[in-house]
Each structure stands twice: as structure tokens, then as C-alpha cells.
Symmetry: D2
Subunit: 360 residues, 4 copies
């Protein structure tokens, strides 16, 4: 069967015939893969943690929609169910992994499909265990692939809300309507975070260092999210902000956010550093964090409960913001078009949001 | 303008011309009202807490979808927005009411539109304050009226999950997939609770003391919820249950549930007593509660955050379970058909789930 | 070595020479045992769950203060440390037991030292594993034995506070000063619960169906706890109550408490049924639970974190309420006085609070 | 009556006769004041937020033990009760202040006695409202003054534990025994934090950039807290750490802590910047925060519930660590010794931990 493989040693990205279906009680046929930034870093041999499950090549892919072909033990799944596999797998040693929460693995010995230590989902068939599969509701198969990146954000928002329980953070009407969320970056992560926080009742502003583009304009119009062009910094952003959610990894912007955020706010760091540009951690910054009692938190990886919630929210958005949802998957590439697929994996297209690989 | 009014003293249910639009910054035009069991009790003069806002008659109605006609202060809403008004209003004295949570009013001095102390929404126009209005997402206007009863259940499930945080209640995969919820009663409340818990990942069984009917069969088929006929009690229900959610108010069933529920389970009591049939609170029952560390909790009323979540879930269900959603509003009556409307308010129809009154 | 053993089959309570020290990395010498109601039920062959670890007799005792004699693996403990062993041990199968919380064992397959399936601590020496031992701070060895029953109450109060997080339950000054706790029963459990809730800032009333006795009067005077004689019911208790904590197992009193408790209150059931007197679970009771949104919860067993907190509170009380603390251990019996020990285990003495067995 | 006053404009620190007793229902006589770093900054005219309640001088003092002289409305307090006044008072506008939690004031318009906008407690008598007074348990009057700084740390630890609820942070025995806390700085704040975390079951190391001194050696011996000399950095600290609690405000040390802390750890920032030495916020630091999902949080000010808990813990420590407690108040100065008092307020003594002013 076909698979997309990476050989770091020989610097090869190939689509070729392999015979590695993995292990597990459920046999699955891949319907679609999503491509994300980590895939691109791996495929361009820039990701330092790439690690094959065995041998010299790794099967790529951590975003997948799949169909159940057969099930060894009857139980949670049956033939033809549409499912999504979760991508991070526990170390088997720490309590968080035992509790099904390898996103908070204490040892750092977790593995990730298509990234480190486990073959990924860019292959025609694979076996997996039922505990790692999430059932996809009918009616949202077209956009369900977004549940993988969205699961990370569901977990992120869960953490943000938990941290803010340190105080009374709800407004006079007991909603979050008075709390302003600023999202740095308008890539897929920035857009999905904006949609999620808007759905939860926040006053949301998404932000980029340029004028709003056409797609963003349509999203803003349909959803009521605001747009802010931060070319001249954050200073003129009306009303301040209670959450700054960073997807850019751009340190000067993060420091600016710490300085300008409101009392009791939270700075959520999701985007890995994007450049080597650094900033000063000085007395003023430290004073700001303490005096305003700011919380800053690093965030990554969602697990099964977050996939479940991601699917619920995708279904919501399909009903209420259909135009926005129709814009998020910007291109579909057929697996048969080898060169197209490889190019899509290697390079980000212009104005691309999410690109998928389609399997027959 | 027209309004549905109740005069308890003279035992009158009337649709007639009134000039009472109430107070507030936003003028609203009613689009639709839902009718529920409390309306029927009031309209049949059996509800003991009925209390007019002023004078001798009360304008009925606590479930409404409305359109914004004009707004005094620009802000959260604008003309033509579709909104739902929340129905319980705080006492202004206790902390829970000040926090926007009159559902947990400490004094019992709260008021409820169309029920006690405040005119309701069965009138052509009314004024209200922005803080009591919830914006309805586009695309779900047809089913949004269900958000009022559903808000009570969103609050109920919030309380259930909070109470169960007393232990580790999540399963090995960190979801609720191993937790079984049993819902007593298949009226609108029972069905909505079943849909909600299913969406949140529970293994859900809805239950009635008869064979499954046609609508229930379709719901079961589309959603994966189970059905149990408890004619012969709960004893043969496979695998026990971790939540028993009662909408029946039938005491022998509640006692049976306490006896048969699993260790660390929760008994959620939502349905007011339906008959005078009682049961024994005996040593066996007390032993069961302590030895199994069961929690039992009374539940009522959702507030603004629960309306918001209810609208999110209705939008989800419209995408994933469209057939089920199409069955829940079983009849629409036009306000012009005075006798039809009064009959619908007075009597529950056969196989009725939710009946609405449509305003021009 | 000596041990107190029970043979249910032959109805024998004996103090005799045995050679059963159990297993574990730490060898311990028993300094003191506490005697509680469960010991008495076992010793009078009335407890239905009594189960030896092996053979026909069970070594009694689940409350102990002990000294470390030797440690196989150096680590948490060293020679001469004073420790308390925890008494409930997990099933090894469910997540709660794996998390060190067998108090919420899902399977019911847990074991309890000196009660079911495991030999107890009424023996001169025993082995145990470090994970089941709690280090006792210096300076409180005289009263530390109370940490075993108190641990159950630390857990109970933890659960109560968690359940009440369903609403804003704190007062205007963000303490619990406006929340009234009523404790039914003034045995050791009732007194310890009263002290604990008083320490946490509640307005506490302890209650018995008789006039206050001398010891209670001294406690009331030193601590500021109130006393209520409920001979004529709960009706004349000023200001109502937000917690009713039952240690009596007397059902008519529990039902009265549900009827008279305040909105949003909690009924905590700790005392197992004491008689077969029962009451009605009727419409009025169900209406009360729902309309006032009362939570009712069964409570039992504390674990290691609760032992730790119990020791902290005992140390607090020794500083602030020394007279009260001096009254709680009412009698000490030497293990050498066989008949005295057996009598103390079999029968509760007049005005007894806590009786201990002293080992050389 | 006498008072310690500061006139910033004329740069005067005086002990003199004033006639300003303030307002409130309770008249109090000051027994003792504590002196802290903020007092010193104010008294040396270096604190930029100093603001009189009225006129040109401010009465200093935010740490006090006082006796109730008279009470206008009978209620929570009676004559001769020993109490502590809390020092931060709400803005009256935001929800956190209304909830009695001005420590999380959203507006920043709170006031602080003896610091900004309100006269302080360094005066013979003052009036205050009952809601701002915390009753001191008998038996700990000698050390109760420490409850003011300790209240800030009780709040800090509450926030730390809340933030760490984002994951399962408890150990296999459900305590915190496997979690290592590192405390930077061994001033009164560092010592009290160490004692508090040790009491709560953490493995605690206190740290300073020098060899351990005599007092610290005695504390280490009595309490089981560890000491670490970080002259050569944090690298050789065995086993890493899960909490770094900073009281130093020294940025290079904070950055080192972020780099070396364990996965899922928390960096608690309590000490305001102590110098202008800064560090780099670079890619490596950002990567560390995200990849290890570190939380960083600014912390300040405890409120009434935290004073209550502080008093409980002081009482605990008096029982279990009497030698340590006897060392914390290093000097007492009588108010009559004007020059001594002024000197004590202006300058920190050698090896001083806490200095108090004694009022007749």
C-alpha cells in the first residue's frame, strides 16, 4: 500500500509502497490527511525530534480522518464508522499518561504518530487501538479533519479557564462578554482559536501585522470577531485585553502583550519561536507580571476529550458560520498526484489555510 | 397589542389587547413562544406561586424568541438581532444574584417572567434590558426556542460534573465513555438531557415505562442513545448507571435508582413530584447512600451562560442529528387562532414534544 | 508477640501470642491503638463484613500510632520516626485506587486493615509499605491517634466544599462566616467535625437530644461552638443551617434536616443507620430537595492527604484549644491488662469519647 | 494619641501626637505592629505609590495585632477580643472587590492602609469595620503578627494549587510528596513560604546565594526543609523542581529557574525586582515555556480567608516547630523609644527576620 515516508538520514521525502500497517484491534482505511507546519518542518528535515518507529524511515502524518474496515473485539466501534485517531501516545509510566492525558506527560517519554517514535497516518491502511480513536458524528465529515488542530486549542482554552479560576473572571451577567481576547496570528491556529473563544462568549479580536485580507474580512463579517492590524504595536487597541493568545512565536510581540495586558490577565503561548529575535526580560516586565498578577502559560497538544469537544464545535460552526467553514480547507490534493502531494507537504501555498491529502 | 393573560382570582385565561410593554433599554418584537408544563399549570390555575407583576392579571410566557426593534444605548445589540430573553431575574440582594446567578438565589426572592412577579413574553412587544438578552446565532432560528428548556439542563449537567469532581470520574481514556447515564422520562426534558449527555461522551439510556414509540426509535437510531422499558423495574438494566437523571418526579422510581446505582454515582432530581405516591426512607436506603457515597441533588433553572451553551449545542445537533431536531417541535399554533392557542396552553396534545405559538 | 484477634466463626475475642507481622519495607512497633465503633461491632460479631486476611482469625485494629524500627529501602522514613498507617488499601484495578484514592474505589474490592481482608494494627509489631505510612509531626504524639477518625472528616469536608462550588457559597467577606453548620451527634465524630468546621470559619452548632453535658460545656466555652438540644426538633434553631452533618444515622432527624435546611444547602450523611426507625420519602421531601436545590451526599474514609491535614489540625488545636484537646482521649488501657482491654473493646464506657490501648 | 507618620513632601518620618482614629464600628487599641520592606521604602521616601488618606501625612503601618475596646453593633466581636485588621480595601466597583477579594481588584483602584489612600495601624487607637477584622485564636498572640505576611503566601499557594489543577499534579499516594518546591530567598517571606509548603506535604528546599547561617540550620534541622547554596547556579540541585517560588526579584535567577524547572512546573513570582540587572527573553526561553508547558504567575496580597488560614498554620507550627517559631521575631522595640522605632523602620538590622513595635 502507499505511504508518505521521510528518511532524515538520506534526506528523502517519498510516496511509495510500504508494508507497515502497525498494531491494534481496529483496521482503518485513511480517507484524508491534513498537512500542518510540523509536517513541513519534518519533510524539510528541519525538525529536530523526528524519530522513526523502526528502521530508517518514518511514515508521516498526524492528522487523519479514517474509516473502520474491521474490528477484532466488538465494542466501541463497528465497520464503516468514521473516526479520527489521536496522535500523542503516553509513556506508560507517569500518572498523567495512565489517566489518558499524555499531553501532560511528566517524563517527556511520550510518542507522537508521524513525528517521534510512531509511524503516522499518511498511509492507505493502518491498525490502531480503539482507545485512541474518536468517533466522528455524521454530517461533518467534510470539515472533521480540522478537529486535530482544534483539539490542541480546546485543551488550551480548558487550561486558560482553569488558570483564571484563581479569581472571579466572569462578568456581571456571569458570562465572559466583558472579557477581551486578542489572538496573535491569523493562520489556521489563530482562526480556529478565534472561532472557539467567540463561541464561548468572549469579545474576540484577531490580529496580524498587515491589513485584513479578503478571507478574514468574510470571517469578521459572518462571526462578529474583530480584526486589528498591529503594524504600529498594540497601544491603540481599544479596551485592552484579558487574554493574549500567541500563535506567532514572535518575542517582541509577546513582551508588548505582557506590558499592555490588563490586571489579572493571561498570556497563552502556543506558537513556537519563529525567529531568533529576542527581547529584554527587565525590571519593568517583572514588575508588570507581579503587580498585575499576570499568568503566562505554555500550551500544547489536546487529547481524546478535546477531540470530542472539537468535533462538537465544528458541528456548531457548520450550522451558524457556514461561509467561514467553507473557507478553511483551501485545497485538496489527491494522493495519486505524487508531485503535487510532495509539493504541498514541502511548501506552504499562498493564502493557504488548511491543505488536505485525499485518499481514493 | 395582543397578549396572553391569566387572572388567577377570576380564573381567566385570555388573549386580549393590553398596553403593558414593561421596562428596559431594548424594544423587542416576539417571534415565537414555547409552551411548557409550568405554563399549563398556571393556565389551569394549579400553580401555587403565580403572581402578577401588577394588578390582577399576569402576562404568561417564559420561553421566547424575539427580534430587536430598537436599542436605547448602542452596545451589545443592534436592530434586527434575534435574541432570547432569560426568564429568572435576581433578588438584587444576595451574592449569587449579584453575580448573575439567580438560579442559586440565596433569599428565594427572585422573580420569574410569566410566572411570579414579572410579566411574561406572550405579548407582541416588550422592553427588556440588554443584560437579560442572549444573542441567537444565525442559522438556528427554527429550533432556538428549545434553548430555554435546554438552558436548565446545561446548568444541571454543569452541577453534576462539578459534584463528581469530588473523585476521579473520568475513564481510562480521560473521557466519560465508561460512565453510564440513565434518564428517567422521555418528554422534552428527558430527550434534551439525553442528547446533551450523549454529546458530552456519556453512554446514555433514556427510559420510559412503556415500549419505545416511533419518534424515540428514530432518535435512538440516529444518535446512538439506548432505550430501556422499565415496566419491570431497573434490575435488568445492563451495567448499572453512574448518573440517574430524573424528569418524572415519581418517587418509587427514584428510590429504586438510589438502590441500584453504582458506587460514587449521582442522582439528579429535576422533575417535581408528579403524584402523591411515596416510598420508605429506611435503613437500607441510608446505608446505600453512605456505603456507595452517592450524591443526590436537586436541580433547576439555567442562566445566561447556560443559554449560550444551549444555543451552541442546538447548532451542533442541527448538523449531526437533523432528523431528531426536526421532530422536537411537534406543532406550531398561530397567535391569531385564539381558541387553538388557548387549547394548546391548557392541554398537552398526544405525542406532543414541544408546541410553539407563532407571532406574525 | 501479642495481638488482639477475632475469630468470627467461633465467636472469640482474644489477646494472645501470634506470629503474623505482615509484609512491607518498614518494620513498625505499635505504640498506641484507638478503639472505635467498628471495632466494637466486629468484636461483638455484629459487623457483617469482617473478613480475615488468612486462616480463621483476624488481627483487629485500624487506628494506630507506631514507631519505625527498621527500613529496608532508605527513603521517606528513618528509624524512630513516629508514623500512622492508613487503613484502607486499594483494589489495584480502578483508577481511583491507582491514584491513591481507594476511598473512592469504583469496584468495591478495596480491603481494610483490621476489618476486611487485612490484619490490623492491634499487634506488637507489623510490616507495612512506606506509601501507606504518614509521618507524625513532633510535639503531637499524645493526640495524634485522633488523626485516623479525623482523616475521614477532612475528606468529608473536602467533598462538601467541592460540592458547594456549584454556586458562590462564600460570604461577602469571602470567608464562610455567614454559613451555619449543624452537627448531629456529639460523639468523637461529632466533636471532631465541629472543631474542624469551626477552624475553617463556619458558624458551628453541635447538637444532641439532651441537655449539654459538662465536657461539651467546656468545649463550647473554649472554642465558641454553639450547642443545641434538639429534644423538640430543629424548628427553633435560630437562623437555619447551610450544612447538616449527620453522625447519628437517625432517619427522622435527617428528614427533618432536609425539610428545614436553607436554599442551596448540603446534607452530609456520615453515620450509618443506628436503628430501624424509618421515615417517608414523600412529595414534600422531593419538592424541598428540588426547589431548594439541596445536595445530599454519603461520606466515608479519608486517605493519605486527609491524614496529613488531620495532623495539621490536631497541632493547631493543641495550640489554641488545649483544654478541649485534653478531654478527647478519655481513657488509656495498658495492653497487659487483658481483661480491661477486652472490656474496652467490647463495651463503650459512660461519657467515653476516645479510649486507647497502650503498648509498653 | 501617638502615631508614626510619614510626610513625603517634606520628607519627614515622625512619631507624634495625632487625632485621627478613622471610621468604623469597632474601636481598637493597637498591641503590636510588624515592620516590613514596604514600610521601609515608604519611610525612606522611595516608594512611588505612597498616598495619604487626607492632608499631607500618612499614618504608617499595615501589620497589626489589636484589642477590641468597644463595638457599636454587637455581632462578630466583643470587648477584649484580639484581632488583626486586613490591609487592602476594595474599590467598591469591580466584582472581585464586591466578593471580598480586592487582592484581585480589576480596576486597580483599591486602597491599602498605611500605604496608599488609607491611614495605617501604627497609632494607639483606630476604628475599623468588623468585616475587615480577623479574630485571633487564643494561645498564639505572641506570633500572630506573622499572619499578615503569611496571608499573602496562603493566597499565593492557593493560586499555585489552582493553576496546577490544569493537570494531575498529585503523586501516586495522592499527596504532594513527590513534588519539589524550591524557594528563592531566605528572608521572612522565603522562610514562611518554605514552612507552608512543607506543612502541605511538599519536598521543600530553601535557597540563598551563600552558605547556610545559624538560624537557617536550626530551621532545617527541626522541620526537615532542605537548604541549597546557589552560588554556582541551579544546575547541581538534585531532582529538579516543580515549583520555583521567587522572593528575590533577581531576574537572572528567575530565568535560570524557567530553563531548569521540570515539565508542567510553575514559576511563582512574588518578589518585586530588586536590581536593574536584566536578562534575555530569547527563543530558548520561549521554547522551554511551551515545550514544558510551564506556568508563570505574578502573586500578591492575601485577604480575609487567607488571614484565617495563616492563623491556623501559625498555631500548627507553634505545636510542631516551636524552636523555629521562637526565632522568627528577632527584635521588639517599644513605641516609647522614639529613636529606636524610627531607626527600626528606616533600616533593616543584621540577621533580622521580623521586627515589631510594641504598644504598652
Amino acid at each position: 500500500m502507499l505511504a508518505v515516508t521521510v528518511n532524515v538520514k538520506d534526506r528523502l521525502l517519498e510516496i511509495r509502497d510500504v508494508d507497515r500497517k502497525g498494531k491494534g484491534n481496529v483496521l482503518l482505511k485513511t480517507l484524508r490527511n491534513g498537512i500542518c507546519g510540523t509536517d513541513r518542518e519534518i519533510a524539510n528535515f528541519k525538525f529536530k525530534y523526528t524519530q522513526p518507529e523502526e528502521g530508517e524511515y518514518l511514515i508521516l502524518g498526524h492528522e487523519a480522518l479514517a474509516k473502520v474496515i474491521s474490528v477484532k473485539d466488538e465494542g466501541l466501534f463497528k465497520e464503516n464508522d468514521i473516526v479520527m485517531p489521536i496522535n500523542r501516545r503516553g509513556c506508560g509510566k507517569c500518572l498523567n499518561c495512565i489517566l489518558g492525558r499524555p499531553d501532560f506527560c511528566d517524563t517527556g517519554l511520550f510518542r507522537e504518530t508521524g513525528i517521534r517514535g510512531l509511524d503516522g497516518f499518511m498511509r492507505e491502511f493502518f491498525y490502531d487501538d480503539a482507545e485512541y480513536l474518536v468517533k466522528v458524528f455524521p454530517g461533518i465529515e467534510d470539515i472533521a479533519i480540522l478537529a486535530q488542530p482544534l483539539s490542541d486549542l480546546e485543551k488550551s482554552v480548558e487550561v486558560i479557564l482553569k488558570i483564571q479560576e484563581r479569581l472571579n473572571w466572569r462578568c456581571w451577567d456571569s458570562t465572559y462578554s466583558c472579557r477581551k481576547a486578542l489572538i496573535g496570528g491569523t493562520g489556521p491556529i489563530g482562526i480556529l482559536t478565534s472561532l472557539l473563544l467567540k463561541t464561548m462568549g468572549f469579545d474576540v479580536t484577531m490580529m496580524n501585522k498587515r491589513e485584513i485580507n479578503e478571507v478574514e474580512e468574510e470571517i469578521v463579517k459572518e462571526t462578529g470577531i474583530n480584526y486589528y492590524d498591529n503594524t504600529k504595536g498594540l497601544g491603540s487597541l481599544e479596551g485592552g485585553f484579558d487574554i493574549y493568545f500567541d500563535t506567532t512565536g514572535y518575542i517582541p510581540l509577546i513582551l508588548d502583550a505582557i506590558r499592555l495586558s490588563k490586571r489579572n490577565s493571561i498570556i497563552a503561548l502556543f506558537g513556537f519561536p519563529s525567529t531568533d529575535i529576542k527581547g529584554d526580560f527587565n525590571s519593568d516586565l517583572l514588575f508588570n507580571i507581579i503587580d498585575k498578577q499576570i499568568a503566562i502559560v505554555g500550551l500544547e497538544n489536546g487529547q481524546k476529550p478535546h477531540f470530542e469537544r472539537a468535533l462538537v464545535h465544528l458541528a456548531t460552526w457548520k450550522s451558524i458560520w457556514p461561509k467561514t467553514m467553507a473557507k478553511l480547507i483551501t485545497r485538496k490534493v489527491k494522493i495519486e498526484d505524487f508531485e503535487e502531494v510532495k509539493k504541498a507537504i514541502k511548501e506552504k501555498g499562498k493564502d493557504e489555510i488548511k491543505v488536505t491529502i485525499e485518499w481514493g
